[in-house]
Each structure stands twice: as structure tokens, then as C-alpha cells.
Symmetry: C2
Subunit: 195 residues, 2 copies
């Protein structure tokens, strides 16, 4: 395959993943048909199956793209903040920024895990890796802070993040995210100071 072919093929494949990512977030996996994804990506329906053998394979491509974006986001936090406590606080503050979109459609990663977690096949395990990225990263930061129970603290941080996203979504209220970001910062000040 030449580079220009890869570019053209990647163009359509990328458009499909991008369109699917948006529609899965807005409507969920089960209520998103390949026909709607194809239309949104401006690709004929039958052509979707040239790039993805099944619907599940497209879903997993969306999850893989999310995982890559998460790793880039967390790497960015590490670059911008040398101190682990500042990184964790910046992570907490990121709740506020996405408030409008999350309050309408939920956290894109959390809603995927909630829906796919009920299934036992491939996509469920792939979605679990998304939460794993966040929890493992937070655990590393708490360990750098010298915390013995870094795992539990990391799980609490991500729990509040995901729980606040769910409540903001449920109540359609972005203020929930702003308020919980403040609660998280206060909590981090209490538990995150090195002893």
C-alpha cells in the first residue's frame, strides 16, 4: 500500500471513527446504527465493512482512539505541572471545563463503560482499559506523594470525577461539575500533603 493510498484510506477510516465517536457519545452504542455513522461520515453504508468487519470492531476503534487521547491528556498534565499534587488538582479542575458537553451527554468514557460493562465480549474489556488509564495514572501521582493507600485514593478521585459526571448528566446541570471540582481540590489539600 502506497503512502497516498494509506492517506486516502486513513481519511475515510478516520472520518468513520470520528463520526462514530460523536454518535456513540450522544446516543449510546445500542442506539447508534452503522447507517447513521456512515451518513455522518459521508461514507456509503456498504463501504463501512471494508474498514471494519463488524460494528463491534468500529466501537473498539473508537475506544482505542479515546485511550490514546487520554494518554496524551495525562502526559500533558505531567509536562505542565512538575509537582504531583498540582497535577492531581489540575485533573480535578478539568471537570469544570467539559461541564456543558458532559451535562448533556455524560462523560464519553463513563457512559461507554456503563453500557459495555454489562456485556462479556470484547468491547467491554476494551472500555475498562479507559478507566484503567485514569486510575493507574492517579495512583502513580499519589505514590509519588508518599501515600501508602495510593490505590484507594486514586479510586476515590476517579469515582468523584465519574460520579459528578453522572449526576451532572442526570440533572442536566453543569454546576454539579464545578462544585465537585472544588470539593475535590479541598479533599486533595487534606489528604495529599506529604507527611
Amino acid at each position: 500500500m502506497t503512502d497516498s493510498q494509506r492517506t486516502r484510506a486513513g481519511g475515510k477510516q478516520e472520518r468513520l471513527v470520528r463520526a462514530a465517536s460523536e454518535l456513540l457519545h450522544e446516543n449510546g452504542v445500542a442506539r447508534t446504527s452503522l447507517a447513521k455513522v456512515a451518513a455522518a461520515a459521508d461514507v456509503p453504508l456498504g463501504n463501512v465493512y471494508y474498514y471494519f468487519k463488524t460494528k463491534d470492531e468500529l466501537v473498539q476503534a473508537v475506544i482505542a482512539a479515546h485511550a490514546e487521547a487520554i494518554r496524551a491528556e495525562l502526559a500533558g498534565l505531567e509536562r505542565q505541572h512538575p509537582l504531583p499534587l498540582d497535577r492531581l488538582k489540575a485533573f480535578a479542575r478539568s471537570l469544570t471545563r467539559s461541564g456543558a458537553h458532559v451535562s448533556r451527554y455524560g462523560c464519553p468514557h463513563g457512559t461507554l463503560c456503563s453500557e459495555l460493562g454489562k456485556r462479556e465480549d470484547g468491547p467491554g474489556a476494551a472500555a475498562a482499559a479507559l478507566m484503567g488509564e485514569y486510575v493507574d495514572w492517579a495512583q502513580d501521582q499519589f505514590r509519588l506523594l508518599g501515600q501508602q493507600d495510593a490505590r484507594d485514593l486514586a479510586l476515590t478521585l476517579v469515582s468523584v470525577f465519574q460520579g459528578a459526571s453522572l449526576l451532572a448528566h442526570t440533572f442536566r446541570d453543569p454546576d454539579v461539575m464545578r462544585g465537585q471540582a472544588e470539593q475535590l481540590e479541598r479533599w486533595l489539600d487534606m489528604v495529599g500533603q506529604p507527611r
Copy 2:
């Protein structure tokens, strides 16, 4: 309608709601067909429509049953514990008990809100009331404790509860719930003491 007719009708209606409640929790709304509900309740498919005009109406009946169960659970906590702080701690501990079921299928209320929140019609608003029951009750308890920011504290409590349920479900690990129940109790000791 006589009492005996209401009893017979209620018998089938009740079986349908109970079967639907279980299947919606295990498989989600979109992936649960009325045929499966009817089979699980031992009611012929066509007969379902005598009791519920649409699938959404059955879903809303399930949500109404959940809401009633939540009110009974919270009223029980108030009866067993005179002190608001003890009530909140008992609520936090209840995370541990449901660990096995929640880690397999998620919190029944949280997964409903996550899925139905993406929709704009009736069931979405009904599901939101489930979270409202928990948050309003917790807010009352924090207010009894003399807390000024009772609303934010209540949202944090329910956020950890829901976030821990999501992570336990995602990782299929009941220990997440036990650990976060302990974190919540510790947090309640820190913020919940009257000044």
C-alpha cells in the same frame, strides 16, 4: 374492577415489572426486548400491551418501583439511626453489601440514568428522580449536621457512591466498593463533625 380482578391483573402486572427490572439491570434498556421480558414473566407477548401501552411505559413503571424502594430504604436508615452522621455512615456502608451484584451489572439506578439521560423524552426525567431521592435525603442529613454547603456535600457523597459502583462494575471488582465505603466513612468523620 373488583378486588379479585385487580389482584389477578396486579399479579401479571407485578410479574412483568419485576422481570423487566431484573433484565433492564442486567442488559440495559435498549438490549432488553419485550419478548424476553414477557418470557421471563411467563406472560404472552401480546398481553404485555394490555398492561403497558408502550415499552417506555413499562420502563417507567420499573423506575417508579425503584423510587419507592429507595424511599423505603432511606426511611429505614432514619428509623435505625437517630443521628444524621450515623445515617450517612450507614448509607456509605451499604456500598459494601451490594458489591457482588453491582460489580457484575452496575448500580441499577446509575446505569438507568446513564442510558436514559441521553434521551430527551419521559424515561430520562423519571430516572433523574431516582438520583434526586438520594441527593435530597443526604442534603437533609448534612443540613441537620449544621453544614452550610449541604448540597455540595450531598452531591459528593452520592458521586463517590455512583463512581465507585461504576468502577467496580468496569473492573468487575467488588473490592472497589468495600474500599470506597471505607474512604467515605473516613471523609464523613472529617467533614461531618458539628462545629
